[in-house]
């Protein structure tokens, strides 16, 4: 056989990416999984004691900090889901009321350009109990208002949710606007001819038509929530207590404070598991969408 460069050249060009995938992703994931079975502390210790190889996981499931982190993950997920709702409301309003569309879009989207560290710094300042929003409200005479969310374990998470909604609503709005624009304009006319009320139009026609957009948003949101670290660090650094720990924070803490590589790896593997749980529907969704498109 003669050498055919048209067959070989692309494979050569793919080698770097392949190497990166194999080493930095697949190899590293396997490495971390392996480490999670060891008792590695600061440095890797590759001996596995097979009589208690699940030791790190056992500890994880008994660790109050980990269960707090998991609950917070759910809280954060549900709370941030408001960003999708909010995003949809904004998108629907902007889409119906054309006036000022460019202006509103610009305003709602700019927080997305801001890093989560900056977002955290800004909101932490606003929520500062002695000089921030609360102090101002008290000065204005609304002494009953309690905005010292960051100070209490049961409200600190809400502050993080508030900041993340502020940061990400615009993004979901942009996705929703795109979704709304792809809806055939004749549907609006048809609904108007039929005399359907706007509410029913949205609830019975538009939202079901956009279920794919909603699903996309939900999956993106979940993946974002799993990765949430910066915002927690900048807003509360995990506190008060462990009340705002999330898995992403837990892993870093285990690595740096506890200096327990094995434990951090076990927590990271659990994070990967959660990611896969979210990822699986995405794969199914993509397959489903492809089939639907093929059928169309």
């Amino acid at each position: 056989m003669t050498i055919r460069w048209t067959r070989i050249a692309p494979q050569i060009a793919l080698t770097p990416a392949l190497a990166v995938t194999a080493v930095a992703f697949i190899g590293s994931i396997l490495w971390t999984i392996y480490l999670s079975f060891t008792r590695s502390r600061r440095v890797p210790d590759y001996a596995i004691d097979w009589t208690e190889w699940t030791r790190q996981y056992d500890r994880l499931f008994q660790d109050a900090g980990w269960s707090t982190a998991l609950w917070n993950l759910i809280t954060l997920g549900l709370g941030s889901a408001l960003a999708i709702v909010f995003g949809f409301v904004l998108a629907a309003m902007i889409d119906r009321e054309k006036r000022g569309e460019a202006f509103f879009r610009t305003v709602f989207l700019y927080p997305l350009a801001v890093s989560l560290i900056v977002t955290g710094v800004a909101w932490r300042w606003i929520l500062n109990p002695t000089m921030g929003l609360e102090a101002t409200l008290h000065r204005w005479g609304w002494t009953g208002v309690d905005f010292n969310w960051l100070a209490q374990g049961d409200t600190a998470m809400y502050a993080i949710i508030l900041a993340s909604i502020w940061q990400s609503s615009g993004f979901y709005m942009a996705l929703m606007i795109a979704g709304l624009k792809s809806i055939n304009t004749e549907i609006w006319s048809a609904a108007r001819l039929d005399g359907v009320s706007l509410w029913r139009l949205y609830i019975e026609i538009i939202i079901p038509m956009m279920k794919f957009t909603f699903l996309t948003c939900a999956i993106l949101l979940s993946l974002g929530v799993i990765k949430a670290y910066d915002i927690v660090l900048a807003m509360t650094n995990g506190g008060p207590g462990q009340s705002t720990w999330v898995p992403a924070y837990f892993v870093i803490n285990a690595l740096s404070q506890k200096q327990n590589l094995g434990y951090a790896s076990a927590a990271a593997v659990m994070m990967l598991g959660i990611t896969l749980l979210v990822f699986l529907p995405l794969v199914l969704l993509t397959a489903w969408q492809n089939r639907r498109r093929a059928a169309a």
Binding site: L18, P44, E97, W123, A135, W166, A178, L272, T275
Partner: protein, 308 residues
């Protein structure tokens, strides 16, 4: 909770399509007014942090202590800005945020070159050339695109350590490139996939050289997607904290890390005006990009999220 690396997501960077829709100028009826009022209130909510941060940064500390967070500064001063930029301390070096700014720039440039060139060539090879295992590889990339950094953090530390780049600008840039590779590749691949097969065939018959076709035919057609990916990657890298703090070393940490250090460990009294000025300084580059090329920015961050 959408950090940008998520929003790139799935694949395909089709620039958001705008269906030209007939604009109907209607009179201001009750509903319109209600909607506009609601939108305006939301807009105010969105602007409050920016306003507060901006005014705080222009105030003196005495004024800030009065707790009038919403008041305009009585005496406008740029002192906090100049202090944050030139003098604020991060560690023993008190040279201000400008150190971090230049670090961020020095991280940004190689990471952009590395990640985009790698992703472009990979996407091009996968989309336009016949490679038997392309499908499997694509699926792998799709999976990798969602892997949080924590899961591969220690191995990456060990790898960069072995490469001798841990704790250097290059190290941070390399990790950024690695983390961005799957998503950017998918974006490029989905863009190139839509290039007509026959153009590729014509080029293959004309030249047959993988690189020549890339340089002469494909690269000139990649203008739009390049802008989109550039914006995506610039915002990503600039706004990153975790990679910078984990892989940065001797005063090679990016601006966000400097900012976080400055805010958490400031000298003496907490100087909120300096903190806020520093926060704004950190936020300015991506904000400028957003306000200058908003349309591409939106396309960039939603790249792939909307398929079809």
């Amino acid at each position: 909770m959408t950090d940008l690396s998520v929003t790139e997501a799935a694949a395909g960077a089709t620039v958001v399509r705008r269906h030209p829709r007939v604009r109907r100028r209607r009179g201001l009826n009750g509903r319109s007014i209600a909607v506009l009022v609601f939108l305006t209130m939301c807009a105010l909510f969105f602007c409050v942090p920016l306003y507060v941060v901006l005014t705080t940064s222009l105030k003196t500390m005495e004024e800030i202590r009065q707790g009038q967070i919403f008041a305009l500064p009585e005496t406008w001063t740029l002192e906090a800005w100049s202090f944050a930029w030139n003098e604020a301390c991060s560690g023993i070096t008190c040279e201000g945020l400008k150190v971090g700014f230049w670090n961020s720039v020095r991280i940004l440039v190689p990471s952009l070159i590395l990640s985009i060139s790698l992703a472009m060539v990979t996407g091009y090879a996968l989309a336009l050339w016949e490679v038997k295992w392309a499908g499997t590889f694509l699926f792998l990339l799709f999976l990798c695109a969602f892997v949080p950094l924590q899961i591969i953090m220690f191995p990456l530390i060990a790898i960069t350590r072995t490469m001798g780049v841990y704790g250097t600008i290059m190290g941070v840039a390399v990790v950024h490139s690695v983390m961005a590779m799957p998503v950017l590749t998918l974006i490029f691949r989905n863009f190139y996939k839509d290039i007509p097969r026959e153009i590729m065939n014509a080029a293959i018959m004309d030249s047959g050289s993988f690189w020549k076709i890339f340089a002469h035919i494909i690269l000139p057609m990649s203008g739009n997607i390049l802008i989109v990916v550039l914006i995506l990657q610039i915002t990503n890298v600039w706004n990153d904290y975790l990679v910078g703090v984990t892989f940065g070393g001797f005063n090679t940490q990016p601006m966000t890390v400097n900012l976080a250090n400055m805010v958490t460990v400031s000298t003496g009294t907490a100087t909120y005006n300096v903190d806020m000025a520093a926060a704004l300084l950190t936020a300015i580059p991506p904000l400028v990009i957003y306000f200058l090329v908003g349309k591409f920015f939106v396309a960039g961050i939603t790249a792939g999220a909307i398929k079809g």
